[in-house]
Amino acid sequence: MNILTRLTIAATLAVTALGASDASATDITFYYPIAVGGPITKVVDDYVAEFSKTHPDITVKPVYTGSYQDSIVKAMTAAKAGNAPDVAVLLSTDMFTLIDDELIEPYDAIAKSESDQAWIKSFYPAFMENSQADGHTWGIPFQRSTIVQYWNKDAFKAAGLDPEKPPANWDEMVAFGKKLTKRDASGAVTQWGLEIPSSGFPYWLFQALTTQNGAILANQDGTKVAYNDPKVVEALQFFADLSQKHEVMPKGVIDWGTTPKDFFEGKTAMMWTTTGNLTNVRSNAKFAFGVAALPSKVRGGSPTGGGNIYIFKSGDKARQAAALEFARFLSTPERAADWGIATGYVATRPDAWQTDAMKKYVSGFASAAVARDQLKEAVAELSTHDNQRVTKALNDALQAVLTGVKPAKPALDEAQAEATRILARYQP
């Protein structure tokens, strides 16, 4: 028993020592999801190190929490256990959920000085659409994006297309796609024309299609959705037709995570993905590639996407002040520029694009400005109360249609009914 007892005591001690990091007044925890491998987590660690140099009285503990989906689960479980992070980068669309559970503090309640007020106003208005509700500002844009199209210039050349001219509208996209889809002798496809991913959060990419078709999916208050609007049905029909009728895209659900790899491997000649992948593509594509705004139908456009910085309620003024200080630090023009260059996300404020580093970057790599220029046509990302459930209804419908299980109209009618049921609670 002796050894066992000792082991148990040792284990318990070790566990206690590890579990309890005593929180003095200026220790703050920072959750962030970023998802490319090594260098990017290191960038964040460097920011934190730099911050602690200039703010010796505040200690920031950065916690990498995986994908966006993992991160919101982590933040919510921690918060409900009374152990919320002080600052977190989470999807801008999680705003209503966080408000409804009274987990976050509006910036206007803590950032009251004149310079704070000016700071809140310094970001692109398109990004603020997903950051404000009920007259409050709940999130500050950090890693924000739009969807852009990437194309393989070598493949375009091989297919007899102009390598400098990406598809400008849906018809061209289909026509180009047909030329780019290559089959071997047995009829098996060796190169697809296009991939629009549909795993995880298909609604986001689909929202680009609905936007281009002139539909708006949800109201500003996040209390109503228009999933079965005829324009939305039409957009979904087109999405499904790409693989089922035109056969320029793989059938079934296309995995978000492997789409860039497919592009690098030459399995697809065009792909739609976040501008946040730009640096990834730039360093891994072994061929000449181009980046452009998405093609248009009745109009151009893309939803914005990506993460905002939220400040959680902690009831501790000093910690909230420290959190605000850190949020401000992360969103200075210089850092916004630096983050944009490191990842490909859109630097979140106009003055970031006037910094020397950014000017130099854009002059050598014009693609970097594509996503920013697309902001003019961007719309707010689909975001409602009980967001996870309401978007899941749409996601399920999309996947059902893309996999050929249901036709577009009834699938979207069902999704609309489900969303209406869930949102009934939030009607004024």
């Binding site: 098996a188 793989p250 059938k251 079934g252 995995d255 399995k267």
Partner: protein, 296 residues
Amino acid sequence: MPERRRPQLNVHVQGWLLALPAVVLLAAFTHVPAVATVIDSFFSTPHGRRPAAFVGLDQYRTMMADPIFRLALKNNLLYALITVPVSIGLALAMALWVKGSIQGRTALRLAFFTPTILPMVAAANIWLFFYTPDYGLLNQVLRALGFSSVNWLGSPATALPALMALTIWKEAGFFMVFFLAALQQVSPVLYEAARMENASGWLVFRRITWPLVMPTTLFVAINALINAFRVVDQVIAMTGGGPNNATTLLLYYVFQVAFNFWDSAYAAALSTVLLLVLAIVAFLQFFLLDRKIHYR
């Protein structure tokens, strides 16, 4: 008189004292929460300042009308119906191969058993690569054979079978061990006699081996059945329940409702169904396996 009673009392007190830590912990993490889950399922989920209210069978009514729940239940039954017999059949075959004097049996045993040691999350990530459309190994093999590439995890028809294959790959080797043990108990005299009679391999299997490993088969089947209703790791790691809920299983749906939607009351109702299923399995076990032999 007191002399006689004291040790008696001692045994009762001591017995309970010894069991006390285990009793407290088991009650705290198994019995109390099981009962609380059932009770919670008759209430509504508290929201913000609104407390939970008694709603009777409302959650169950929602559940009956919930197509995702019905699909999850169907998927889970299908999952159990296929993975349990296939794993058992393969496990028995593996045990028979490895037990005999087959060439390179150590290597075979290693190949069969190693998947058991891997964490499911690690195995799932490896298989994710295995299943990748176009250039994943499975599709490369298909293409070499002249078939076209299949989007295994991206089509509702193949996603669930793809998860089942992973489960069978991981479980069969584990169950093999139980059959190995059972086969070692079979008296060699029986086989000797069979050989004298010049009985065919199939006859030997049907008349001697199969009846003798029957108790093991039942035991393994019960365990496999319990596991089939607790599957969740590979769903989280590989598909997130998609496409269009084709791979949503009961425990995964509980997880999603509880920790993504934060609808605790509905999650409680779903958990109650899961508890019910496990209770049925327990009931089966009670009747199929003789408690006297196995638990006394």
